[in-house]
């Protein structure tokens, strides 16, 4: 499919998809970079820095598709209102100093979703999306492997396991917001146009069917254990936290984070953002 510049529904669907993808990666990277120079060892510091930069690079790739639609970086990042960001509230959550289970559990919950999400974009009718998926997948596999290695090591210790359990209890409900719509009509268009070949509900079910058995295999309690019931796994409204992010509603921590990363741009009175790399291929 070639994008029809005059089809407004099509443009809106593509923009909504790229924003939700890019916003997730960008905000996740912001939280990961907080661990730089604070991780448990120099080696884990280097590894998490790599992951943060991968995620930022992916945000760049998705935001670049918005550039095709006529957007510019300032309006995508620095001049957009805080309540027009569509990332899942999972990625904006703050964490207590030293709580190393946070990036690990967060990464596990996110990267399983990311893996499923990328698979639904492999055959996208928008060629640039399909093309970029391949670039991203290799890195994401490593992220998941990194998170699982750490989870398995942490739960092998009693204290570690208790801390992992707390992080799961805290982050799991927010992770479910990864499968919430930005706007239900636009989400239908995304699937109907073939930009993505699965619905959010299908992706949520699949995510639960991977995450719940895995966490249970580590002898962890999962807040939504047993949801498979008679009709299989499903994300329902009762399971969701108050703020889901996708619709622009965010938790308190978001406004502080947003204020911090837009501070310099506004403080210096900038109206453009410096590019030092060319646009991605």
């Amino acid at each position: 499919m070639t994008l029809d510049p005059n089809d407004l529904d099509e443009r809106e669907a593509l923009a909504a998809l790229c924003k939700r993808l890019g916003d997730d990666e960008f905000v996740l990277a912001e939280r990961y970079t907080e661990w730089q120079v604070r991780s448990p060892s120099l080696e884990s510091d280097l590894a998490l820095s790599n992951i943060a930069q991968d995620e930022l690079g992916h945000a760049r790739l998705w935001y670049d598709l918005l550039i095709d639609l006529g957007y510019e970086e300032p309006e995508i990042v620095y001049e957009r209102d805080a309540d027009e960001w569509h990332h899942s509230t999972l990625v904006e959550q703050p964490f207590a100093e030293g709580d190393w289970t946070d990036p690990i559990v967060r990464s596990y919950l996110y990267d399983v979703a990311e893996k499923l999400r990328l698979a639904t974009l492999e055959e996208s009718t928008h060629p640039k999306i399909a093309d970029r998926v391949g670039k991203i997948q290799g890195e994401e596999n490593y992220h998941l492997e990194h998170a699982q290695n750490w989870l398995e090591r942490l739960v092998a210790d009693d204290e570690g396991k208790e801390r992992v359990q707390n992080a799961v209890d805290r982050l799991f409900p927010y992770a479910l917001t990864l499968f919430e719509p930005v706007d239900p009509d636009v989400e239908d268009d995304i699937v109907d146009l073939g930009l993505r070949d699965a619905t959010l509900a299908e992706m949520g079910e699949e995510w639960l069917s991977v995450v719940i058995p895995y966490l249970e295999s580590l002898d962890l309690d999962v807040p939504e254990s047993g949801v498979e019931g008679m009709d299989g796994y499903a994300v329902t409204d009762e399971m969701l936290p108050e703020h889901v992010g996708r619709d622009g509603s965010h938790t308190e921590a978001w406004s502080d984070l947003f204020e911090e990363f837009t501070h310099t741009y506004h403080d210096l009175g900038r109206d453009q953002s410096t590019k030092i790399m060319g646009r991605p291929e």
Partner: protein, 313 residues
């Protein structure tokens, strides 16, 4: 090997872990490399908030990569120091956290805003480049080897800092004014980067005699000024009136040593500079907060952090 033999043989990359070296040499080399490694960590700690505050995605990526590089340099350097058999990496990191480890003067000063970032990333890193380039010829081979990688990456950092400075000095008048103010605040500290003049330096003679140090403080400061005074001017920065800096008959830049606050320098050097304690204590808290992770994984056999391309040199 006795100390006289060490002095006789002292040359670039002359000694390696296979050599039986006197304790005096190993202690001097450890002190020097540990100081360098600590400085990498504390420099990274100082710059870390600007990953978030960077005013564009590309700058953010570059800043995150730079901070990561510095941690990688710290890792390499601690390893080069460990091979001397005087202190383990844990001991060095604990000393740093507990306020005993020493590090570069410039990383003791708090940094509040983006306009200050090129003061570190261009001037201080540029100064570090001068020193590090000479250390590729240091007599402790693992140190010289680490410098090969460090210098390669540090070249990118200086370009990154220079590019931020160029953008600021081509920005609005307010940006230019604020950058000039930051420069005036940092300039004396940057000149002091190389330490006191050789007459006042305590460790130089021995380190030079055994080939650890390749150039004196004065020579390094001279080389730095000759290169960076013109660069600062090129971007429109005015050299502050104090400390007095002037060109001598040979066209080389000379600084009036007495215009610099050496009391403050030595207070900083002893980790007693009050505003800088925020960084030392902040880093200590961060390390203490993740102590439980090190306890949990201790003895489980696998190296912490999984696969890391940066970890291999």
């Amino acid at each position: 090997m006795d100390i006289e033999t060490v002095k006789e043989r002292a040359g670039p990359r002359e000694f390696s872990p296979g050599d039986d070296l006197p304790e005096e040499y190993r202690k001097a080399a450890t002190r020097m490399i540990e100081f360098h490694a600590n400085s990498e960590i504390m420099g990274a700690y100082l710059e870390r908030p600007f990953i978030r505050q960077a005013p564009s995605i590309d700058r953010k990526l570059a800043f995150s990569a730079k901070v990561q590089d510095e941690i990688g340099h710290g890792q390499l350097l601690y390893r080069a120091a460990e091979t001397l058999g005087i202190k383990t990496r844990e001991e060095m990191l604990d000393d740093l956290a507990e306020g005993r480890g020493k590090f570069l003067n410039c990383f003791h000063y708090p940094m509040d805003g983006w306009v200050e970032t090129p003061m570190i990333a261009f001037f201080v890193d540029g100064a570090a480049m001068r020193r590090q380039a000479t250390l590729r010829r240091t007599s402790w081979e693992p140190y010289a080897h680490a410098m090969d990688k460090v210098c390669f990456e540090e070249g990118f950092h200086v370009k990154h800092g220079e590019d931020i400075l160029r953008t600021l000095m081509n920005g609005s008048r307010a940006e230019q004014r604020r950058t000039q103010e930051a420069f005036e605040e940092w300039w004396p500290r940057i000149i002091q980067f190389f330490g006191p003049t050789d007459d006042k330096s305590t460790h130089h003679d021995f380190a030079a005699d055994v080939g650890l140090k390749q150039m004196t403080n004065d020579e390094l400061r001279q080389a730095f000024l000759d290169m960076y005074v013109p660069k600062a001017r090129k971007y429109g920065l005015e050299i502050p009136e104090y400390p007095r800096v002037s060109q001598n008959d040979e066209g080389r830049w000379v600084v009036e040593e007495d215009d610099l606050d050496w009391d403050e320098f030595f207070t900083v050097a002893k980790n007693n500079y009050e505003p800088g304690l925020g960084q030392i204590n902040g880093r200590a808290r961060a390390q203490e907060a993740v102590e439980w992770v090190r306890d949990v994984i201790e003895g489980d056999g696998a190296p912490a952090g999984g696969r890391s391309p940066q970890a291999a040199d």
